[in-house]
Amino acid sequence: MNTSRVAPLLFLVAAIEVLSARPCAAAEEIWEYSPYRIEVWLALDDHPVLTERLESTLVRQIKQQAHISVGAPWSLAITRPVDAIRYEMLRDMERVGVDDIDAVAPEILEKDKLFLVSIDYSTRGFHVAVRELDGRTRTWSPTFASYAQSNVLVPLTVFDNMRKAFRAVTRIESSRNKDATVRPRGGGLVLSENSPAYVGVGDTLLPIIRRNDRYGKPLNNGIKTAPWTFLQATTRDGAVLICDLHSGMRGVLSGRTSSRTQKLALRVRPVHEHTRLICETRPTPDEPSRPLPGYDIYAKDIETEKLELIGRTDWRGVIDIPQLPKVLGLIYVKNGAQPLARLPMVPGLETELTAQVADDDIRLQAEGYISGIQSRMLDIVASRALVNTRVDDRIEANALVGAQYWVEQFRSIDTRTDLNALLSQQRSQLINRNPDRRTATKIDQLYGDTQNMIAEYIDDQMADELSAKVKAAKRNPRPASPPEPEPAPPATPTPTPTPTEESTAAPAA
């Protein structure tokens, strides 16, 4: 072999190896040890108080504050937005969309974060509003707004709102059914748990999946928040965090991670007092969604597993769920005893959420009917047992007339046939409402189980058996029997006192 030709080849191979290996490690290094590249667009209103000098002071002091409070994890660049954006920011921060930014400064979306900061002045003082856009997930934070009473406090107010709006980013390294591993952005630079960039044990993360084209741009509708899914960091393993995966859907984070698919997770905290949950039916080709009023909503503590009733949906299918003590909880939607949905949720994160669940009305109605039958059955079984005892007692005492009386009373109690007839009638009423197959199956099961219970506990032959017992006792009377008492009236433990003047006196409270 010609070594002069091999050496360059070897070098080439080695170079390729080095070059191909470097991006992984390099990428991790960038992710973990480089700061958030943050662009801040600062828009001041046209007001004499909001001078250029104030603006420059603001820029300086915000940077100073970031340097002091956050340090290395943040790399801030503060600029003025273009006029069109500035105008919208000052009018209504929430009208500024990702597309608006993409149209005027697409490169900004390559950064980690964009803060929109607007300041205007009124009689109430300096109104500061801040909103954060995450570059990778293209998602907005809520707007955080407050007032500063003097210009000295404005920078602090701005920075404070920036801290609140900032959502730390993590990358989902791996995920299985019930857990996932995440690596925080800039985690290697965070020195304090107070840093806004800090992600630690106990934090709640919202998974977002981004699918890119070959140019690295997100596909149309390529960025999706995993519905009803959250991660909760439980342990730290070096630079990564092990998280529990809580999801109301199956396989949300499954699938291979490729260079075009990024699985990210933002640290989230509730910002509103409550989230309005709307429960409605799943739409079908024949019927649009309908609200589901009267469904019970429970919140379960993930750690203690304690279940607490929040309330019931109103006629619109709506219920407001307040913030939970531990931020993330499991929200159960139940109809009667039947759970219909299990939804991990951070109440207060969103203003409103919609949950589509199956219409369970007919099944609940069936459950109600069955509950009534079961109550009735209990009363019947108890009554029969009481009467049976009375018959036996009277046979024992040779009071056969009384025994016969109670046998007749026994016959007047509802029988198995009566209950089955009622069961059948109620079942027909439900079937006439044309339930879907799944509900019909559930109803059949409910009614089948009840019928079995009736057959087990209520024996229609018992009356005849009692009658036969009495007849047998008549044929073989006991010797030296005492005089036969009169048939006993319906038993009362002691006579109920007839009201007298004394009994109408006011009792002691």
Binding site: R316, G372, P497
Partner: protein, 805 residues
């Protein structure tokens, strides 16, 4: 008896023997009966009326003049009397049959008969003697027995021998004797009745040998009666007696009435003068009270009636006896009778329940009209530009604001049933509002019973409430009264609720110190209806009584335990014996659920009541078993959850509003629950309250005005209602009712709800009561079967204060 004579001897011997024999036989049968010196007319100690009737013929035993009494069967004579000498034909004979020998007939010559004591005369004499003895008897009980017996004898004579001589005379004597005896015994009313009967028969009656006349007796009895009433200050009854006697016998005929009229006039005059002083001092309200006292004593005092009219004119006032004070007004209160009572006086509503319709309640708006389109998806409300005094002026805008406010989830007045129904509200002009509904509703106007508010504030009703210690005052607001109208300027609500004197309200009504009883105790309704001076009327709608669970007690959350409560209370017995006191009042009956059953068959009000559901019978054994079942269920659950299990059956606290019906019912049902091992203590709520505001009770006795089940069911049973059952089946059933688009469906769904409530024992149903109110006849304009007492308040007028029977 007949005497046989032989006539001649020219006959054969055989024939002679035969004749002689025959004659001898005849003689044996028909000879004059042996004289009996004393044929005692009666057996000793057995009254004549109980013996077989007989007459006694008295003859002389010749040749002596001794009398011989012959007891015989009643003589067959045309006129039952001794004929005169002129009527007796010479030689005629009286035929008789002896009492001991009725087979044979005897003859006695009339000339030998001294007299005949006919049976009825004997009876009359015996009766008379008995009457005299009874009159003279000192022992009232013995005297009564004798006179009662004499009465029976008189009855006998009247029925069988109405023509008995001197019967009427004897009877009058009897009446006199009886009246005297009753008077001696202190039975004045009976004595009066008897004396009056005597007076009717013989106004001038005077018993022989006595100077006392029947008028004297009447006067004495009346005097004592009136004196008794006057001493008790029951002047109404005193007046009744005086006036009646005057009317019956003529003014001033009975001496004691004259005396008493003078006396009462003096008393009334003092009140009259005091009334005048108070009027002059400007204290018209006090003058009103004193003038009532004057009217109560003797309104015919000089100038009395004019003064009464003047006071009523200047300050018409009505006093209402109530069992509970109203602390506030709420015409729509489901559970507070007093708040409902005054609610409509204090505020008017956009729509009000005014009575019963053919399918449901009847509704109207005091400020205009409400129409619903045929498909029931739109309502048109037209407001009047001018309303009667006491009814607020509102515009279409005001109405629209009310409707939107109650439909707004963010509003404190948020009313979900209306919010779920209302789609849009359009003010088409100043006086008209159109409301579009999301779906058809069978009775949308029933949902609009919202207080009328204007843009500025809640508009007041015709009256304002002043809560005071002993009594509440409802005073007419300024600008409401029209000159010349006599509607009450003030309504005084006096709480009369003394457990020691349950009939105090009735006494006050009869005395005239109150004009109306708001709620008559059910057991007193029948007796009060017999008083002609008082009108007793039922309200339009009944009230359903029940126990509702109000605490978090674990046992009360078990359906088995709640059913145990139902089985353990003898509802029928408590209702019949304690509350109704054995009377039957239409509309009062035990119920199986929270809905009214109505007052009669096919009552439209009962559209929610499933009458196929049988009442749970009183079965304390079953109740005890079910209570133990509940205990077992809870013990098992506690073990599974590793919590502390209950030690036994719970001790419950039952709260109740303090008035006679609830007090009695709760006392009795507590005793019954104790028998099955469920210990209960009673807690009386503060006056005027019907809810357990301090959360001290487990069960609450409530009286629910479920007058429109279609809309009231959710107010009671929904999750936000009065009964916090949090039962998903009940909730679902209520939602189904809201979406019913016709009456048939609505009724069916309500009955389904009834069945669910029955199965789950969501409440412990007790009974339905058809409440009644009572008022003096002097009060006019109250109306028949109002929804609430003051429904027709603007028609109320006091007409006069004369005591009538």
């Amino acid at each position: 008896m007949r005497q046989v004579r032989f006539h001649g001897l020219n006959v054969t011997s055989r024939l002679l023997v035969a004749v002689l024999s025959t004659c001898a036989l005849v003689a044996q049968a028909q000879e004059t009966p042996p004289p009996e010196k004393k044929d005692a007319p009666a057996k000793a100690n057995v009254p004549l009326v109980e013996q077989k009737p007989f007459d006694v013929v008295v003859i002389t035993d010749k040749p002596s003049t001794d009398e011989v009494l012959i007891k015989c069967l009643p003589l067959e004579m045309k006129e039952r009397r001794m004929p005169t000498k002129l009527e007796i034909k010479p030689g005629s004979k009286l035929k008789l049959r002896r009492f001991e020998d009725p087979e044979n007939e005897y003859e006695i010559a009339w000339r030998d008969i001294v007299r005949i004591e006919f049976y009825e005369d004997q009876v009359l004499r015996e009766t008379y003697d008995l009457t005299v003895k009874g009159m003279r008897e000192k022992d009232p009980a013995k005297a009564a027995r004798m006179l009662d017996q004499a009465y029976a004898f008189f009855e006998f004579l009247r029925d069988n021998y109405p023509e008995t001589r001197n019967l009427e005379v004897a009877w009058q004597f009897y009446l006199f004797a009886n009246a005297s005896s009753l008077y001696q015994a202190g039975r004045d009313y009976e004595a009066l009745a008897v004396a009056e009967e005597l007076h009717h028969r013989n106004p001038a009656y005077q018993p022989p040998g006595s100077s006392t006349t029947v008028t004297t007796v009447l006067s004495a009895i009346a005097n004592r009666l009136v004196k008794k009433y006057a001493a008790a200050e029951d002047y109404r009854n005193a007046q009744l007696i005086i006036r009646r006697l005057d009317k019956e016998y003529g003014t001033d005929v009975i001496p004691s009435t004259v005396t008493w009229k003078k006396h009462l006039s003096v008393l009334a005059a003092a009140k009259r003068d005091e009334t005048r002083r108070l009027i002059n001092a400007g204290k018209v309200r006090e003058a009103h009270a004193v003038s009532r006292e004057m009217a109560n004593i003797w309104p015919d005092v000089e100038g009395g009636r004019e003064l009464l009219a003047e006071v009523a004119e200047r300050y018409p006032l009505v006093v209402v006896g109530v069992t509970q004070p109203a602390l506030r007004g709420d015409p729509r209160s489901l559970h507070n009778w007093a708040e409902r009572r005054v609610g409509r006086l204090l505020q008017r509503s956009l729509v009000e329940l005014i009575g019963r319709g053919t399918e449901s309640g009847l509704y109207a708006s005091p400020v205009g009209t409400i129409e619903t389109t045929i498909d029931r998806t739109q309502m048109i409300i037209r407001v009047r530009d001018k309303n009667a005094p006491g009814i607020p002026e509102v515009s279409g805008y005001d109405v629209s604001q009310i409707l939107l406010d109650y439909g707004n989830p963010a509003s404190p007045h948020y009313f979900p049933p209306w919010s779920s129904l209302m789609s849009t509200v359009n003010v088409t002009n100043v006086m008209q509002v159109e409301v579009n509904l999301r779906r058809p509703h069978v009775l949308p106007e029933a949902l609009l019973q919202f207080p009328l508010v204007s843009a500025n504030s809640t508009l007041r009703g015709p009256y304002r409430l002043e809560v005071k210690e002993a009594e509440n005052l409802l005073a007419l607001n300024d600008g409401v009264a029209r000159p010349g109208e006599r509607r009450p300027a003030e309504i005084v609500e006096r709480v009369i609720n003394d457990p020691a004197d349950p009939r105090a309200a009735i006494s006050a009504l009869r005395r005239g110190t109150i004009d109306v009883i708001d709620r008559v105790y059910p057991g007193d309704i029948k007796s009060l209806q017999e008083d002609k001076s008082i009108v007793v009327e039922p309200y339009a709608f009944p009230v359903v009584h029940m126990l509702i669970p109000v605490s978090d007690n674990k046992f009360l959350k078990r359906a088995s335990f709640r059913r145990a409560l139902v089985y353990s209370i003898n509802r029928q017995k408590i209702l019949n014996e304690a509350i109704l006191r054995g009377n039957e009042i239409p509309g009062c009956q035990v119920v199986s659920g929270p809905f009214p059953i109505g007052s009669k068959r096919n009552d439209p009000l009962s559209y929610a009541y499933d009458d196929r559901i049988t009442l749970r019978p009183y079965d304390p054994w079953l109740g005890a078993v079910l209570a133990q079942v509940a205990l077992t269920e809870l013990t098992t659950m506690a073990e599974m959850q590793k919590k502390e299990a209950p030690e036994g059956l719970p001790k419950l606290v039952i709260g109740y509003p303090p008035h006679e019906t609830t007090r009695l019912a709760c006392t009795l049902l507590t005793q019954q629950l104790k028998q099955v091992g469920i210990e209960c203590t009673l807690k009386q709520l503060p006056p005027g309250e019907t809810l357990d505001l301090k959360n001290e009770c487990d069960l609450l006795y409530v009286e629910i005005a479920m007058w429109e089940p279609l809309t009231d069911a959710s107010r009671l049973l929904a999750a936000s209602g009065l009964v916090p059952t949090a039962n998903p089946y009940v909730d679902q059933a209520i939602r189904h009712i809201d979406t019913a688009i016709n009456w048939s469906t609505a009724s069916q769904r309500l009955r389904d709800l009834h069945r669910i409530c029955y199965n789950e024992a969501a409440v412990v149903p007790l009974w339905q009561i058809a409440d009644h109110f009572a008022y003096r006849r002097e009060l006019e304009g109250v109306g028949k079967s109002p929804v609430v007492l003051y429904e027709n308040i603007f028609d109320w007028r006091i007409v006069n204060s004369e005591v009538t029977e």
